[in-house]
């Protein structure tokens, strides 16, 4: 990225460079996994100087496609043509050599290494035995130019999610990326960072770079992309130019009939009962790196209402949710559930007394992907004490698979063979079943495609309305907060800075409180 581009205003309207040769072409790329054809004869041309969005529902094959391009997966059939030459990529190092760099939604950089160590690993120009400090200067200079403040000697585990993603981008730049593969790399960043990122992407493309962008946020893709390709069940459902792309067209290509169900209207408001189910009083909780992440939070959830907690990532929501679930020690204050002080009680107590829990990063914290669906359900203490009654649990699992339309060959399939959306459905189905009283959730629809996310929200809200269950849902996605909540609490720097009834809340005001 050249320095003079810094003050050039990002134009979101630059036309795709017509008449150019594609920098990357895929011909007949096919990849099979046990039980699915993830990519089924994909043909695709990607042109230099464009932002090319890759859209599709969960399990459509987007990640598989970019992993093939990054040399992680070897295709079963087909050809990759880079700069006009058929190329075999057998490792990411090969791809990096061709100027292709991937950044994915979960940071690849390694926690126990320093920033500089992580970055130098891909830099060919340094030989194996140079001291890592050799690269410090370059990192400092380049990060200044890009406008990221980062200490090259810091160990990565001390960084926040956002900082890690920034390091990933910095790394891509330092590797001299010509083609940037972004697999939901931006989706979970706070709004401000996200905007900076999109500007950066635009600029990168305007200067001749190429970006392949995967996201579930269709509007964002329409904003920034020059071309859009929609995948469906491993096949190309259609290519669109930015001029012809409309949200309806894209959704129809992505979801088919299901696109009719997509709506961002508020779901029906609950009529809570006066009884308080959850009460948090002046709660203080430590963060991971010392210091209080939650600073004197007090809140209340009534029976049969959804309290949404809005906030930018890293403002203490995670710690608050974990403290409520008794997964993190409380330093000061009290938590009262159903009239009982649970400040010193265990997670187990909550889990056998009607509390459902959907953690952040569900594939990491909420399911065990090596185990089968049925085992992932049976693990909860309400279902398995002493001897397990498999017949009963199998029955329940089959019921949930049907009810939640979980796509799986059988209840005994290991969860790792399901697509991201279906993994999430397994978790939500399980937790809603045990949440007879309270559901505690953090980003419950993260990583889900629009149609599935809205479906999950509907299911949660229906349950709240029908069974008078309460819910406390923290989310970084304001669309989600507005759609599902009855009341909205805004969290900023560990404190609750405002509580609003959802039907009267103003979006601008809440956004303002979030970043204040």
């Amino acid at each position: 990225m050249a320095a003079e581009a810094n003050n050039a205003k990002p134009t979101f309207l630059s036309p795709p460079q017509e008449g150019k040769k594609p920098i990357v072409s895929l011909r007949g790329i096919t990849k099979r996994f046990p039980g699915v054809i993830a990519l089924d004869h994909i043909d695709l041309d990607i042109y230099p100087g464009t932002v090319h969005a890759l859209l599709g529902e969960n399990g459509a094959g987007k990640s598989t496609l970019v992993k093939v391009l990054y040399g992680i997966y070897t295709p079963d059939e087909g050809e990759i043509i880079i700069n006009g030459r058929p190329t075999r990529l057998t490792s990411p190092a090969d791809a990096i050599n061709m100027g292709i760099v991937m950044v994915s939604q979960s940071p690849q950089i390694i926690d126990t290494l320093t920033v500089a160590e992580n970055i130098i690993l891909g830099l060919e120009k340094y030989n194996h035995f140079v001291p890592v400090t050799k690269v410090y200067k370059t990192i400092r200079e380049e990060s200044k130019r890009v406008g990221i403040k980062i200490d090259p000697g810091i160990e990565v585990w001390r960084l926040s999610y956002t900082q890690k993603q920034l390091v990933e981008i910095l790394r891509a730049i330092l590797l001299g990326a010509k083609v940037l593969l972004l697999d939901e790399a931006i989706t979970y960043l706070p709004i401000e960072e996200k905007q900076r990122f999109y500007k950066f992407i635009r600029r990168f493309a305007d200067e001749g770079g190429t970006v392949v962008l995967i996201t579930h946020k269709i509007y964002e893709a329409m904003d920034v992309a020059d071309k859009i390709t929609v995948l469906r069940r491993g096949k190309v459902a259609g290519h669109l130019d930015r001029k012809e792309a409309t949200i309806e067209k894209i959704r129809a290509l992505m979801f088919g009939e299901r696109s009719a169900e997509i709506t961002y209207e508020r779901l029906p408001t609950a009529q809570p009962e006066p009884k308080t189910i959850l009460e948090v009083k002046d709660l203080w909780v430590m963060g991971d790196f010392g210091g209080y992440a939650v600073q004197g939070v007090s809140l209340e959830v009534k029976k049969g209402e959804v309290l949404g907690i809005a906030g930018v990532a890293g403002n203490g929501q995670k710690e608050l949710i974990q403290a409520i679930m008794r997964l993190r020690p409380v330093m000061k204050g009290r938590i009262i559930y159903n009239g009982e002080d649970i400040t010193r009680k265990t997670t187990y107590y909550l889990r056998v007394n009607g509390v459902g829990y959907i953690p952040d990063l569900p594939a990491k914290y909420g399911v065990s992907i090596e185990n089968s669906i049925i085992e992932n359900i049976a693990v909860l203490p309400v279902y398995s004490r002493g001897i397990i009654n498999w017949d009963k649990i199998r029955e329940l699992t089959l019921k949930l698979i049907k009810e939640f339309e979980i796509k799986t060959p059988s209840p005994d399939t290991p969860v790792k063979f399901l697509s991201g959306g279906n993994i999430m459905k397994v978790l939500v189905a399980r937790e809603l079943t045990v949440a007879t009283n309270l559901l505690v959730a953090y980003n419950p629809t993260r990583a889900l495609d629009e149609a599935t996310a809205i479906k999950v929200r509907k299911i949660i809200k229906e349950k709240v309305l029908k069974n008078k269950v309460s819910a406390i849902i923290a989310s970084e996605d304001l669309d989600e907060i507005f759609q599902i909540s009855d009341r909205i609490a805004v969290m900023n720097s560990g404190k609750i800075v405002g509580v609003f009834p959802a039907d009267k809340a103003k979006r601008e005001e809440i956004e303002h409180l979030m970043v204040m």
Partner: protein, 360 residues
């Protein structure tokens, strides 16, 4: 060269057979090159080993039980390398019952059962001692269980040299021989004992049931794959670590009793020089089974057949390398090593395929 997963695995029996044959071929070559061993003699020894269930029975029973024991903790990703120490502790407990209580003379049946049970308790306690720091301090269980093997040996050595030194041992340093009442009766025509056989069946069925049908079993399996899920489900991870490792030691301990009551009948000093090394060989059995309970006896049979084959070869060929070569153990080791290494490598082909990619 890249490796990809097969969409459909090959039929399960093809590869193991090819792998075994390849391994046998390699060990034949090694033995021929290094000591000029006749391939015909080696092969006939191997055939002998695999076709004499009665002879391999004793080793088979012990290795299956250790394999099952280790499987329980391995399923939970708790790498118990301490089977040897747990067996040694079991040996110690069983010896105590046999030599220093009146039980063998009062009720031999009860005495035998007590030997086995107490051996299990001792093995369990020894494993528990490693489990506690693992669970609460995060102390890596691999070095701890390994180191505790040696400590167990030396504790027993101290006993054998000291208070347990036998009265009728001439100049040997060893305990007295256990009373005939508690020498486990043999199954006719085999090298194994009835006690061992029953124990094997009980443990196999018990562990099968534990892993399949109980919440403890399910939680151990999930502990091995993703302890975070246990945490968020409200289940104590440290407790599950303790349970997995203790059960593992508990089962392994029983082999100490079998070794005493069905094999050596006394402890000789130093115990580390007189062990059958079941604790270590059992690790191999557990890993060869790919952590499938059903495959543990199969793996144990292969390993014990190879043992027998090595010893048989020694008998066939005699002291080829002079009197120096003791008990054919070197040949056993070459067999086991090369055949199982080939097996481990080739078995992957049933689920994965190798693609050669030519770069242009």
């Amino acid at each position: 060269m890249v490796i990809v997963r097969r969409v459909k695995p090959l039929p399960y029996w093809i590869i193991p057979i090819i792998a075994l044959l390849a391994g046998i071929a390699i060990s034949v070559i090694i033995l021929y090159v290094l000591m000029g061993a006749s391939p015909a003699a080696v092969l006939s020894a191997i055939v002998y080993g695999f076709t004499r269930p009665g002879v391999v029975a004793k080793t088979f029973v012990a290795l299956t039980i250790v394999g099952i024991a280790l499987l329980v903790s391995f399923k939970g990703s708790i790498w118990n390398i301490g089977g040897e120490g747990q067996i040694t502790f079991g040996l110690m407990a069983a010896t105590w019952v046999a030599l220093f209580t009146a039980l063998p003379y009062i009720n031999p049946g009860l005495a035998q059962v007590s030997m086995i049970l107490l051996a299990m308790v001792a093995g369990g306690i020894w494993a528990l001692l490693a489990a506690l720091p693992r669970a609460y301090l995060g102390l890596d269980e691999v070095p701890v269980t390994l180191i505790m093997n040696y400590i167990a040996y030396y504790i027993v050595d101290i006993l054998v040299r000291g208070p347990w030194l036998g009265k009728h041992v001439y100049n040997y340093i060893r305990t007295d021989t256990i009373p005939a009442q508690v020498m486990f009766p043999q199954v006719p025509g085999t090298t194994m004992t009835w006690d061992g056989l029953f124990l094997l069946i009980i443990l196999f069925v018990g562990v099968w049931y534990l892993l399949r049908n109980t919440s403890i079993g399910l939680r151990i399996r999930i502990l091995g794959n993703n302890p975070n899920l246990l945490r968020s489900s409200g289940i104590s991870v440290p407790l599950m670590i303790i349970v997995a490792l203790t059960i593992s030691g508990f089962i392994a301990g029983s082999v100490g009793a079998l070794y005493l009551g069905g094999d050596v009948y006394r402890i000789s000093y130093p115990v580390e020089a007189h062990t059958a090394n079941y604790g270590y060989t059992g690790i191999l059995v557990a890993w060869l089974s790919m952590l499938e309970l059903i495959a543990v006896p199969i793996a144990a049979y292969i390993v014990s057949a190879l043992y027998t084959a090595g010893i048989q070869y020694q008998i066939l060929v005699g002291g080829h390398l002079g009197q120096l070569l003791t008990a054919g153990s070197a040949i056993v080791d070459v067999f086991i090593g090369s055949i199982l290494l080939m097996y481990t490598i080739l078995i992957t082909i049933s689920e994965y395929k190798i693609k050669i990619i030519v770069k242009r």
